[in-house]
Subunit: 481 residues, 2 copies
Amino acid sequence: EEVAKLLALKAQIKTEDATPQKFSLKTAKGTRDYNPQQMTLRNGVLEKIIAVFKRHGAECIDTPVFELKDVLTGKYGEDSKLIYDLKDQGGEILSLRYDLTVPLARYLAMNKINTLKRYHIAKVYRRDNPAMTRGRYREFYQCDFDIAGQYDPMVPDAECLKVVTEIMDSLEIGQYVLKINHRRLLDGMFEACGVPDDKFRPTCSTVDKLDKSPWEEVRTEMINEKGITPEAADRIGEYVRLNGGVELVDQLLKDEKLSKTKAAVEGLQGIKLLLEYCELFGIKNKILFDLSLARGLDYYTGVIYEAVLTQPIKIGNEEQTVGSIAGGGRYDNLVGMFDSKNKQVPCVGVSIGVERVFSVLEAKLAAGDISVRTNEIDVYVASAQKNFLEERMKICTDLWNAGIKTEQSYKKNPKMLTQLQHCEENGIPLAVVLGESELKRGVVKVRNIKTRQEDEVPRENLVQDLLARIAELNVKENGTA
Amino acid sequence: EEVAKLLALKAQIKTEDATPQKFSLKTAKGTRDYNPQQMTLRNGVLEKIIAVFKRHGAECIDTPVFELKDVLTGKYGEDSKLIYDLKDQGGEILSLRYDLTVPLARYLAMNKINTLKRYHIAKVYRRDNPAMTRGRYREFYQCDFDIAGQYDPMVPDAECLKVVTEIMDSLEIGQYVLKINHRRLLDGMFEACGVPDDKFRPTCSTVDKLDKSPWEEVRTEMINEKGITPEAADRIGEYVRLNGGVELVDQLLKDEKLSKTKAAVEGLQGIKLLLEYCELFGIKNKILFDLSLARGLDYYTGVIYEAVLTQPIKIGNEEQTVGSIAGGGRYDNLVGMFDSKNKQVPCVGVSIGVERVFSVLEAKLAAGDISVRTNEIDVYVASAQKNFLEERMKICTDLWNAGIKTEQSYKKNPKMLTQLQHCEENGIPLAVVLGESELKRGVVKVRNIKTRQEDEVPRENLVQDLLARIAELNVKENGTA
């Protein structure tokens, strides 16, 4: 028996040692790696967005990927179930951040900051049902711009809209409309339609589904799930089909029911002022006042908005409807939730839906509509014969030290064809080609990969010659030096 | 009694409702927010590092912040206890990434990639004892450059060293030495000194402490904790005090004990070849072959290296010893651990200790040795009198649309002094000042904040005038257009 035990033990040890470990070779559900092509697209998009943020004077902050769970509790309504929790870390209960807005509010309250114009680009985590083909992941980037501070009505709000238009224009992703509405108007409208106070927020969530569902479905949900009377629902239905410009605001200010509701009048006056500022910012033609816009999140207190593409995007031979690309609004009561004296810091901001943009660009890349270079190498140092590694290394050193983006093969004796193929595959424009006879004469060949033209250049002039060629290529490509 | 109960219940409910929620207003242990100043320093450092990575043709990738726990298991030896685990997510057991190397290996194996030169900058997580004043956090940035692929010996390894020197030079953080050693040489040395095979790795971990502890302590640990004989320890002690250049390699190749040990000879030959390549790359004067360098991680198989500052850094009136800024080495067997057929992809790489660099710069900032601008605004649009918000908005629009980084007050009637103070505090170089009398004449004032000189500029020429002034300021600051 003793022996059997030992044998069994031995067999067990052997199994553990000998078989290769069986790993689940995958990433966690709803997450993905970004390969170099995807990162190039991503970084290109973020660069454009950051340029707009900086043009408006935004500063950059970052917060930890996890927060104390308490910080997130009670901020997201029903969606709290989607929060990722960590295991107890020696008495600390932590959760992965769900968005960048609550961490901002915690940051402002914790550091007693009253004014801040900041952007924050980072990953957030939601244990949602992933729909990865449509760019919906459990780990995804958010890209937020917010203005915190006690200011005059609608001035920072209007700048947020201006920022959104500049980003949409810069991304060149298609025609869009910037829908705006106001939480006070929605509240006033619900009140005027006979919805009880405590059902404003649930009703608002239901109205939010109008961008995806027809009115009939929304109406049914209101009546059956939210307990709204059919009469109230029908009254809401009449309002939420309205959209327009300042003339609609004026019309609603005279509306029999709304004009008697304080909240509605406040909301309408806010929208009117915002539209005036939008005209001054030259973006009025992009704005649509739309009473069906509700936004899901609980914490909004004032203006809300959403940038929506008005046409499907062409990807290869197919068309894809993308919808909302950016959204945000005013949230004046969130920071106070973190302050022991409930001191408020009013905030307004916008979140750019960069994952949707990435997803469109990735689809275009896959369809061959666009191409990307994943490296920025200008010069490849190649050798036509064997035993030139040392000479290649010396030349690479000279080029690197002159700041030239340079690469070579890591093999001692790479094949000429392989080296040139590498240049073509990677879009490298120039190659220095070393050959025995040229080196004896103190020259090297410089080859233009596209035109295949080769020129002999004296070794001692090589750096200068390449710098001039690179500058010329950049002019051709960008139209500027 | 019933009444008392109800009253107690009522009191309880009241407490819950009325008192503001008591939040722990802090970040999780060992983590921190980055404020705009810190982010500006951070982004400046990363920009310089990324420029070097791109100069060498590295592509960028990203991976999820968490991995399946299995992926991380068995890769970090004793340090595995520092891994952050998430709660079970519906059957998935996830952990936060501990470094960027294991996710890279998983990425290569999963996607069957044989060659890749990539950089990856992201946060990693270690539940270590934080020493935040010395820049050691539980959440911190890693900044890695790695070359994967089957190439000729020491060619990519030497480029990693070249990359490190370019980064160290670019960061201008102080004089440094790049220590190198070889795991095969260490193995051979242990063998030659009489250390049993199964004690190579633990002995190696102990040698790794030589940068912080004197030899006597290390010797004691070897004997008492790792079970090495005093004789073997003393033999090791003689070797690990050696450092030098190629002459030391030649000396050791003739060493009676080492020359008979296959691993040691392999390691020494590798070091010799690496030193030759370093000479070709023009960095030989930065390199020190040092037998005491061991590196903690288990997975290294070949050359290992570490960039160490040779002098303390002056911060205010004090001096701070910083030590190691970058480290890395060759790990040829890690990718195979993820492949069911154990197919290997040899890798070599380096990790830049950016947190140490951030920490030095933050200390310099706090001591007033350096200053940073947290925004890039060039022009502030101010008004000298009341009721100019609309005019300011129009001018801001023109400037934003011309790509000029512009800001204004979000108040309707800000005070002149407050506006100018904002410019001075934020380093904004130019202000457009609106006044009643000027506007009537179709001009505005442009003020240089530093010199306080004001010029009248026709309203219709404003954009052109400002563009010219900004270009001039940039020339003055950078010496280039």
